[in-house]
Subunit: 510 residues, 2 copies
């Protein structure tokens, strides 16, 4: 990977000056087009060996681009708040919003390489890290936040020369630290690991650019050109999509939309019998009010005990509530929270996203609420909205909700790997029961707010929702984060079962 970067590259000062003027103007033009183009961001990764000009490259980009729309983030050892969350959390939180350029320095490549170099991980684990990175980057590309990956290279000899010359000069000696020399001593090992990582993560949609860091002029120009090239490529792709949309006759669009609407509800592959399962739930059990009054306190007490376990400090809990309108999510959530110390839980109701949320990849708004260790977060509706309401109502592109199954599974896998206990509850009610509850809501003054014309509209598509839910449960019930279907025609029973499910997951995993 590094051979061509080790060939001598240099640009003399005169050529440099001439090229820079043009390059800066072009970069700014492209940056402003990015700002105006709706929904496109650029992620620039800056990695590579020390003293190869990474810091200088960031400075050059901040000088050449309009810095108000460039966000640079550098990651070192994780801070306290970062170690509390899954590994990828800090990178998610640093993704640039649409219209902006994010420069990420010491990003998600740093950890896997470091761990392998220091033998914290073996080849197999590195392979797993690489696999994760590929999927994460794939998601970014899909979410219109394509990547430009820059690797700054110096040969071992060049690095030594560079460090020595900086150190010799009284004015620049402060730039070299003991750590730089320690890392230099490990150059060969670092190179070997990096080479594998770069090879395996140079994908079609996000290839690496290896940049020779030996000549500062060459390095700056190359970085500038790489950013310009990436911007132009992505802008051109966006323009093509726009043009194609304009060219297509209206009739064709209408036909495609209608065909799509039909196709949307056809399952991706013929799945097992979850659909029938959801439709044919027995709904027989009942819990009398009197028995409930005792039982609920009992199960609350059991949950409270589990949560107070000292083991909880190494874990966190994420509970997801899904179900059709009026399935009883709110009531069940309140019975859970009244068993918990108010200081350890948050309830996150998922409604329309804010503009900051819309400007980021889909899962960003769920990542931002993840609990630190020892805490409990309950999502009242969740990331599953994409494969439920957004799918059924056509709010998400077909491609977007289709890939969401995988993205969601990977997201939850990351939570579980971090020690987060994920409990997913589907509250199932019958169509008749929903009608009864809707009518009750309409006639009770303080329940009227819970029923809107939208609820009646959704109800008309009952079967589509059941199909979407069935496919969702099939595709996202994993061993580490399984779905639990709770029969909820009887509210009392549903509340008890919801709490029992959480308790038994805690029992199993703590």
């Amino acid at each position: 990977m590094f051979e061509s970067a080790e060939l001598p590259h240099a640009i003399d000062d005169a050529t440099y000056k001439k090229q820079v003027t043009r390059l800066r103007a072009d970069l700014l033009d492209a940056q402003y087009e990015l700002l105006e183009k709706p929904g496109l961001a650029l992620v620039v990764l800056v990695n590579g060996v020390d003293a190869a000009g990474k810091g200088e490259a960031i400075n050059v980009l901040n000088e050449w681009l309009d810095p108000r729309h460039v966000k640079s983030h550098a990651f070192g050892v994780s801070t306290f708040e970062e170690v509390q969350r899954p590994r990828m959390w800090r990178y998610w939180m640093s993704l640039p919003p649409k219209g902006e350029i994010g420069i990420l320095f010491g990003n998600w490549y740093e950890g896997p390489i470091w761990r392998r170099v220091h033998n914290v991980t073996g080849e197999a684990e590195l392979g797993k890290d690489i696999e994760r990175i590929r999927r994460f980057e794939r998601m970014l590309v899909d979410e219109n936040a394509p990547l430009l990956k820059l690797w700054f290279h110096l040969s071992k000899k060049q690095q030594k020369k560079r460090l020595a010359s900086l150190e010799k000069n009284k004015l620049t000696a402060w730039r070299v630290t003991k750590l730089d020399w320690e890392k230099h001593a490990q150059y060969n090992r670092y190179r070997k690991v990096s080479e594998r990582v770069l090879r395996d993560t140079s994908t079609g949609e996000a290839p690496w650019n290896v940049i020779d860091g030996s000549d500062p002029n060459y390095c700056s120009i190359t970085v500038g050109n790489a950013v310009l090239g990436a911007l132009c490529r992505h802008l051109e792709a966006a323009r093509q999509v726009e043009r194609a949309a304009k060219r297509t006759p209206k009739k064709e669009i209408a036909e495609a939309a209608s065909a799509k609407a039909k196709a949307v509800m056809a399952p991706l592959v013929q799945t097992v019998d979850t659909a029938r399962l959801l439709r044919d739930l027995p709904f027989k059990e009942r819990l009398s009010k009197a028995k409930y009054a005792t039982k609920i306190q009992l199960v609350q007490g059991e949950l409270a005990h589990r949560v107070r376990s000292p083991k909880m400090k190494d874990h966190a809990v994420v509970v997801v509530f899904e179900g059709v309108d009026a399935a009883g999510k709110g009531g069940a959530i309140r019975r859970i929270t009244s068993a918990l110390d108010t200081r350890i839980y948050s309830v996150i109701p998922i409604a329309a996203p804010t503009d900051e949320e819309k400007a980021h990849p889909y899962l960003w708004r769920f990542w931002r609420h993840l609990p630190p260790r020892g805490r409990f977060v309950i999502y009242d509706r969740s990331w599953y909205g994409r494969v439920l309401v957004e799918r059924v109502e056509g709010l998400a592109e077909e491609a977007a909700w289709m890939r969401a199954y995988t993205e969601i599974n990977e997201f939850e896998e990351e939570l579980v790997d971090h020690g987060i206990i994920v409990v997913k509850l589907w509250l199932a009610i019958t169509k008749d029961e929903q009608l009864k509850r809707f009518k009750e809501r309409e006639t009770t003054a303080f329940k009227q707010y819970k029923i809107t014309p939208e609820d009646w509209r959704n109800r008309k598509r009952w079967d589509d929702y059941v199909d979407a839910a069935s496919e969702m449960i099939d595709r996202t019930s994993t061993e580490s984060a399984p779905w639990t279907i709770i029969e909820a025609n009887d509210k009392h029973l549903a509340r008890v079962r919801a709490i029992e499910t959480i308790t038994s997951r805690l029992d199993k995993l703590l």
Copy 2:
């Protein structure tokens, strides 16, 4: 304060049921009006003795209100990420956005009371804590986030009875912990301290409501009525403002606006000679390019050394850059960052606020970027926008920017108290120098983006900006966070001076 709460209060079940139906409907109506009223939020504080029904009150509110627009936060011992930031940070980050109701449980009253009860602080320090709270709450009220403060009370005897009866019942025993009894033993001391705190923080705009927690029915109804009352009061005030605006004839509005525009630039009080100072800066010193090339590296090295000091881990640095357009802020910032490890700094360019930022009190968007210990944040323009551009351009109400001086001083005082080193730099250039730079920007392709019609418009109000800046420097240059005026007609000198200023502040304070 607690006498009337200790009189017997009780509501029987039949009365309760009758009242609740009406109350819930009214609460929802008021909540929806809040949602539609632009720019109004409600902060509900829940405090008081243990076992007096605080947790139940939160549950009741979440049941009676539409929970999608209620955000509850409970604060316990500070988490790692919280202790890294000034004390008020976690409360700022939990303020409800406009349109929503925020329920804060164990809020900014918890710490001061706890510290006094345990003799961590004396009476004088408690007085200071109270003073801070009063100012903070005043700000919230001014920023259209009025407070409803609920204190749940039980007499010592009642508390003992409540705890014992919960403990006796097998179903509820889990609700009582050892800590509850420990706190019960300290009841008298806690009551004495609380009484003082409540008395001194029961202000006209944010009084305390003491609620008798002995009867659950009474308690729920009282909480509901208190929230309803607060909502109605604030909504009515907002409606009155709207009506008054409608009644005023257009001519009168125009006259008032013109009178206001004139008044805006009249200094609040006759201040000292900062205005003349800013106008009569000598601008004599120069630094040749050759000398600069050496000097800048020297001062960068000195800064780098200071920042690497182990003492930095207990501190953080906030640097604020202000100055007219083209004063050279960006260039100076890049010279600072190139002396810093990329992993420890962030540059925050302050542009138009996002909708989440607009939905919170003014300073919220600056609080959210505060560095944890050991880190460096550089604000490229800052909270001073309110008393500069927003004042001059009439973007903020007169009352808003007038109180901003005090709010800013208090904000910076909190940073300093937390060990954050605050460096505020005003880059001063002459009107001629600005013209020269504007013209240069217009003729250099890659600098054109830096010059917009707005810059030329701002330039026409040069004197107003200088006046506003002078008054700002006068009113916000405090001993712990002083302003440094840097003559910046010579860019080289300005960059060196900016770095030297930071270094010397670090020298003084580390």
